[in-house]
Amino acid sequence: MSLPTTREWQIAVGGLIVLIGVALVPFFGSGYVLSLTVNIAMYTVLCTAWAMFSGPTHYISLATAAFFGIGTYAVGLGLETLPFPVLVLVAGACAAALAAVVGIATLRLSGVYFVIFTLGLAELVKQVVTWWQTNFTTSVGLYVFTDFREQHILWMLLGLAALVFITSWAISRSKLGFAMRIIGNDETVAKHVGIDTARAKVLLFVISGAFIGMVGAILAPRFAYVEPPSAFNTMISFQVVIMALLGGTNRIWGPLVGVIPFTILMDQMTAYFPNHTPIVIGLAFLAIVYVLPHGVTGLMADLGKLRKRFKLVAANAGEGA
């Protein structure tokens, strides 16, 4: 690994300034703006963590809700025995463990098995948790009472966001990231040059799952009362896929471009047209496939290339004249 370039330093400093700016929102914005900012921060971390795995591999993971819910439950169950920061780490470890099981079972095989497995994963974990709570504990649901308020959740999320971006960047420069790019381009080639493809994929899926679990843990105090249907909300999985792909996964900050507009749109939809949300989600998926197959950042990159070509053509024409 070489040292970061000047350009990367510039991006890092710019990112830090944005983070600090967002961290100041609680002092100026209204309650509504603050809660919207928390949502945006939450989806930013979720989508970036999702894209870490699904971007290079092109495997559509729908396990987000399962990891998120496990993180939330880890906090609900351990709140009385362990301090909160430790619980966040425990949540990450639990989600990572689940990711490892799913990954080892499916990622040795073709991508379809993986998608199918993750499709019902949240439902599976939800059923098991509900069954276990109704049979072995006194109530279905847990109270999460903490002293944290919206701004504390926001600050924790921003810290995690910084961590996700740095991890993503470090991976993309490491041997693992290089291996993933080869796997994404052609898995057979990757196997032939001696990459343990299954191991690389499982490892990346575990890292991505751990981050999602930690987001669930940080968000737990916001729920106050955690029960299976709200913790394992499958819509989170689908929304993360849409936002990440709308933005594009070929840049680390790509998902962000999708997160901000779509979070605001969804917020308005659930407030004014709750029954129309599925249609909007469906249209968003169709738009991704038919209009923006590489996301907004991909489109911008294509346009950039096109403009360069035009300039070249214009320059050549000028020389000829």
Partner: protein
Amino acid sequence: MSIIITGLLLGGAYALIAVGLTLQYGVARIMNLANGENLVLACFCTFWLFSTLAINPILGILIVAPAAFALNWAIYSYALRPLVKRARTRGALEVDSILATFGLLFVFQGVMILTFGGGYYSYNFLRVPFAIFGENYALNRVVAFGAAVAVAIALYVFLYRTRYGTAIRAVAVSPESAQLVAINVPRTSAFAFALGGGLTAAAGALLSTFYTFDASMGVIFTMKALIIVIMGGVGDVRGAVLAALLIGLTETAVSSLIDPGLTVAANYALFMLVLLVRPQGIFGRSNA
């Protein structure tokens, strides 16, 4: 004994859904995640035909299945064929078709929620006891199973005893080679996709006679059907039928012996087993 019979009766409807999906994925190469919505739509249409025009649900299949056939043909030709054309590899087509059918899933679901609301539906059709080996079962389940068997036999004869059926199986094995023996692959793919949709709709019509349905239950059925398809081996109709009966049995056994809330867990346990022991499916041949 009652678990085995209830399980088999449930497995009959699952078999039709899974056979529909295996045709769509195995022949047309489209991973159709909106298949469950197709099923739910058929449930609602059968219910609507029964409650407003008093059309018998079993006869309703004759209306619902051809309608679904036409709808799926249109979906394939207008929405999915462009994806097949632009896909450079099988993997790229898989990602595109998964995302596109997610889109269809939510659009269908949204339209159904707007039309019928989010409530639960069921209706009264042949809700009378019927004795098998001295124990009583609901007649509507038995009739639905009988109808499913009839449809499955008709399909088997079509696929294995007619020229067009053989062409469909040829495309499932290898689209490139099928072209060499003068099979119109795009047309056959569209036909298989539409046929799969029609079969799923038939399953929906049968399911609605004994099952309480709602607009958002489609995903669970898609997932079950997918697990069945993988268990049976992709594109393998006989494997799908056997796997469906197995899933029906395990689900019924788990829900009556342990807890009715653990059916998805039961599906996953079987799925895990298949992935670890025989990822190519019960009848599938190993590629490696």
